[in-house]
Symmetry: C2
Subunit: 228 residues, 2 copies
């Protein structure tokens, strides 16, 4: 487990705060699939992920899950909800077997803000959050399902190989059926080959084109184009 003083945000904090931090942070332990907080909850505490992996998601009126991010320790969760004292915009759930969260009262946080290294670290964390949200917005507003899949294969091959299709679909916010169909197409077009759950990219350019044009049809290589 990550020590509090090793969380980037606190590591550079003036030494005099370290003892105080230890005394003021509540530690909570979680098991897989337990909920840290629900969308809409309010909290007076800054949540610091010290161990494990969580996912943040919204629930649609149809009760489907819209996954926003996955975060690994160490990181800060829901910082803006804490700073602005507004409800959490998403539910936070552990997906690792076990995990740990440190809770720090927001008044303490406000105090530490006077320390320049702390506010800079928090700024850094916020910047990072903006980047994640910005890329999420791009994914959800610009990319088609086909483009999402192509993007994941191209830019997060690791993830793609490691987890099962079910999970991939949920990360991309598409249904498993849709994912299955898209993968079939990509295989049929010889753009990728999957052996033992490991992708091999056989046509890099095609993947780039799919991402750019948002559709498999637009890539000149494809059989489906010929058929038309």
């Amino acid at each position: 487990m990550v020590k509090i003083k090793d969380v980037p945000m606190f590591s550079n904090l003036d030494k005099k705060f370290h003892k105080e931090l230890y005394d003021n942070i509540y530690i909570r332990h979680f098991t897989k699939n337990s909920i840290v907080f629900y969308e809409g909850d309010s909290s007076d505490y800054l949540h610091i992920l010290l161990d494990g992996q969580v996912r943040l998601y919204k629930t649609s009126p149809k009760d489907t899950m819209i996954q926003l991010h996955r975060l690994n320790a160490p990181s800060i969760i829901g910082e803006y909800a804490c700073l602005e004292q507004v409800p959490f915009p998403a539910t936070c759930e552990f997906i690792s077997e076990r995990g740990t969260v440190g809770l720090l009262h927001f008044k303490k946080v406000m105090n530490y803000l006077k320390d320049p290294t702390f506010s800079l670290a928090l700024l850094k964390s916020m910047t990072n959050k903006v980047m994640m949200l910005s890329s999420l917005v791009h994914k959800e507003t610009i990319l088609s399902s086909e483009a999402k899949v192509a993007d994941l294969i191209l830019n997060e091959t690791e993830t793609f190989n490691k987890i099962k299709n079910n999970e991939i679909a949920s990360i991309l916010n598409i249904t498993p059926e849709t994912l299955s169909r898209i993968l079939s197409k990509l295989k049929k077009e010889k753009i990728i080959v999957i052996i033992n759950n490991i992708v091999q990219i056989h046509n890099l350019e095609a993947l780039h084109i799919i991402i750019e044009k948002n559709t498999l049809k637009s890539c000149g290589y494809c059989i489906s184009k010929v058929k038309r």
Copy 2:
């Protein structure tokens, strides 16, 4: 036009910086529909909106515009692209008749970061940006077109009354046709009445239900339900 020293981020900055700021900020003037920067552009400058109103949008592969935000002076634009030295994730265009932007080299910004009031103000601005993005994500991933319209009528009646349907549609990222049809339905169901381009809400609860359930059909009041 807003004076630089009146921009929240700079107003509390140590006085010794003010003179330097004046000497180091480039001022650029713009007219309506002119572009401050394009999605994908890189820049070494922090952009400070001093006068006018801009919209930030992405362009889809089909060449349609996905509007992310509208910002009024004074505000900071593209702060994270500047801080992280990454390309702008969206295009910035003036929608007011004229406008002004101040440009501050990011190295200067990095310098000012040592000033706690500055980094706090920047943090505040980032927090705000996260809130905007978070609500955008909600709008685009959770709400249906009907819910988007209901939400705007309910929570931004001002905006709804002030601008024409065309513009509303583009803010909601739906087509004018879709908006027109949804408004017709709402009127037919007697949920709203529009006189002289001013909405009157005649059934508040119905609007809430539409937002929550994402569909007009689900609201018990509706004629369309009876027909089924």
